[in-house]
């Protein structure tokens, strides 16, 4: 029976991050792009928690929780970012009746 180690989490995190980045770059629906960004942030969260879990200092050193704390901050900030992003999308939808990134192209050059 193989146990799950740090590498497994890191590979999962890297794969998720790449999926998110790929989606953010090629998807046309801006709401889906926002979702892909959330996937990227959650990939980072997995990496942070895995590092924090497996890099526990030896007993004489005090335990540090900075990895886990970092994750909580990332979650909060991601929520704030999504709120502003959705507000901007609504504002565009009201005037243009579209959320398609390829049609939101007033400025070029």
């Amino acid at each position: 029976m193989m146990s799950v180690g740090l590498e497994h989490y890191l590979v999962l995190s890297a794969v998720l991050f790449c999926i998110g980045l790929y989606g953010a770059l090629v998807k046309r629906n801006t709401v889906v792009i926002l979702m892909c960004i959330e996937i990227m942030l959650n990939a980072v969260n997995i990496a942070l928690v895995a590092f924090a879990r497996y890099l526990v200092p030896e007993p004489p050193d005090p335990v540090v929780y900075s990895g886990q704390i970092f994750v909580i901050f990332v979650m909060v900030v991601a929520a704030a970012e999504a709120a502003v992003g959705l507000a901007l999308i609504v504002s565009i939808y009201r005037s243009r009746r579209t959320v398609d990134a390829t049609e939101i192209d007033l400025m070029k050059g």
Binding site: T30, V44, G67, M107
Partner: protein
């Protein structure tokens, strides 16, 4: 605890909340503007009073109010004051939401101040996002199709950039097991960066995330659209304060955390990115017909010049005077660039408010319609080009001098060629202003506050040419306080 070191931030955050609440009950919105400016002035005064205090650490070293942080706090607050002074002339477009506008500006200043003071990856990330989210909302503030589009583009690309930055931070955390810059520095594995792929990846991702903030190639694609679509006052603020905040955090992170064996490696990465940035920004700026887009590409080029300071971020071997040429030059350049760029944007706000058009062709004949504003615009554009008698000339001279001291002569050659290219498009605006045929003989009205802001910017641009030593001394102290202890 040293809570008094946080007075500037607390004062601005408190005022921001008060402004939002007062906006609900106060009919005369001018009071909100006055309150915001007063809070910013108070922040400058308090910051300046904290200059050079013995024990600058706050919250057990999470933040540090050293000379470096204080320089940037004053720079951000000063830029915000100049922008708020010009808002009166722009206010008709945002009349309904003035309170939010002032509050968002103040909150972004708080975020930038914390960015410059942070010494922990978590604090850096949170303050960077405080800045960014305020700016996303400000860019989309007009709610017309162009402004919303600019805001959304800025947010989507900015969020991708911050996710990349975070991944870099996670990797650095994984390698070192620390989030504090000083402890990361102690735990970074010895040897060159190329020997350690994970470290290389982490550092590259962090350069990518911060590179978005300073608008350098290849993370510059948002700049022209956002600069064009955003309210012009916000564009001015973005081009100066946001870029300065990015450079502040880069200097702090890379000098404090990565100041060991790997310093020459990331300095080289910045040198290459800087040279490409200058060239790309300047060459594309030539073909622009919209003045805001042109200044957007110009700001990419300026980021390239500024990165010369990062490329030369080491102490010169064998020199008696322990001057950090690169960081000092960078900080000095940022001061000069802030004044010149804000001045140019303020003049443009005054003119475009009258003509209702951002096209360079519509600046024709402004020299006869608004001689004083045109003269100020000319002066600021000359400073951005880097020609005497302006601050921009000395700033470039100092930065290129630093590069020569660090055997980066090739960068100086690229920089000088680029300055020549940039003269073409800056001076095209000047030529249009003075020698074009005016569309009408009407003057260009401007408020007293706008003229005051323009006068301050232009006086600074001139004064720093004839009397640069005070700012140079300040820049040297600032660079010393962030890098003096960690560089060999």
């Amino acid at each position: 605890m040293n809570y008094h070191l946080l007075i500037p931030e607390m004062c601005l955050a408190g005022t921001a909340i008060a402004v939002i609440l007062l906006d609900l009950v106060i009919a005369r919105k001018g009071i909100l503007q006055m309150a915001s400016i007063a809070a910013l002035i108070a922040a400058i005064v308090v910051s300046a009073a904290l200059w050079g205090k013995a024990d600058p650490d706050i919250f057990n070293g999470l933040l540090r109010a050293d000379q470096f942080a204080i320089f940037f706090k004053v720079l951000f607050s000063g830029a915000a004051i100049l922008v708020l002074l010009t808002t009166k002339d722009y206010v008709s477009k945002i009349a309904r939401f003035q309170g939010e506008y002032y509050a968002l500006i103040l909150l972004s200043v708080v975020g930038m101040m914390l960015m410059a003071a942070s010494r922990d990856l978590i604090t850096i990330y949170v303050s960077l996002e405080l800045t960014s989210i305020s700016l996303y909302a400000l860019v989309g503030f007009l709610k017309d199709p162009k402004s919303s589009e600019a805001g959304l583009k800025y947010l989507l690309l900015g969020a991708v950039a911050s996710a990349i930055l975070l991944y870099g931070m996670a990797l650095i955390f994984g390698i070192t097991g620390e989030t504090r810059l000083a402890e990361i520095a102690a735990a970074v594995p010895a040897g060159r960066i190329w020997d350690n792929p994970l470290l290389l990846l982490g550092v590259m991702f962090m350069i990518g995330g911060f590179g978005f903030k300073i608008a350098t190639v290849p993370f510059q694609m948002w700049v022209p659209d956002v600069y064009e679509g955003a309210p012009t006052t916000v564009t001015a603020y973005l081009s100066v304060a946001s870029k300065a905040a990015g450079f502040a955090v880069i200097l702090r992170v890379f000098l404090e955390a990565f100041g060991g064996d790997i310093l020459p490696d990331w300095a080289m990465i910045f040198a290459v990115l800087g040279a490409i940035s200058m060239t790309v920004g300047n060459v594309i700026a030539i073909s622009q017909t919209n003045v805001k887009r042109m200044l957007g590409y110009s700001s990419i080029a300026q980021a390239g010049y500024l990165m010369v300071g990062l490329a030369a971020a080491t102490r010169v071997d064998g020199a008696n005077d322990p001057v950090l040429f690169g960081p000092t030059g960078l900080v000095f350049f940022l001061g000069c660039y802030a004044l010149a760029n804000l001045g140019a944007f303020i003049a443009i706000i005054a003119i475009t408010n009258k003509t209702k058009s951002d096209a360079i062709d519509d600046f024709a004949g402004m020299g006869s319609r608004a001689p004083v504003i045109s003269l100020a615009l000319t002066l600021c554009l000359i400073s951005l080009t880097g020609v005497p008698p302006t601050a921009g000339f000395l700033a470039k001279l100092y930065l290129f001098n630093a590069a020569v001291h660090h055997d980066l002569v090739w960068m100086v050659i690229v920089g000088v060629i680029n300055s020549a290219i940039s003269a073409y498009y800056y001076l095209r605006v000047v030529k249009m202003t003075w020698f074009g045929t005016p569309a009408s003989a009407e003057g260009v009205p401007s408020s007293l506050a706008l003229r005051l802001a323009l006068a301050v910017a232009c006086a600074g641009v001139l004064a720093l040419f004839f009397y640069p030593s005070p700012l140079l001394d300040v820049a040297r102290d600032a660079a010393q306080s962030v890098a003096g202890a960690v560089l060999p």
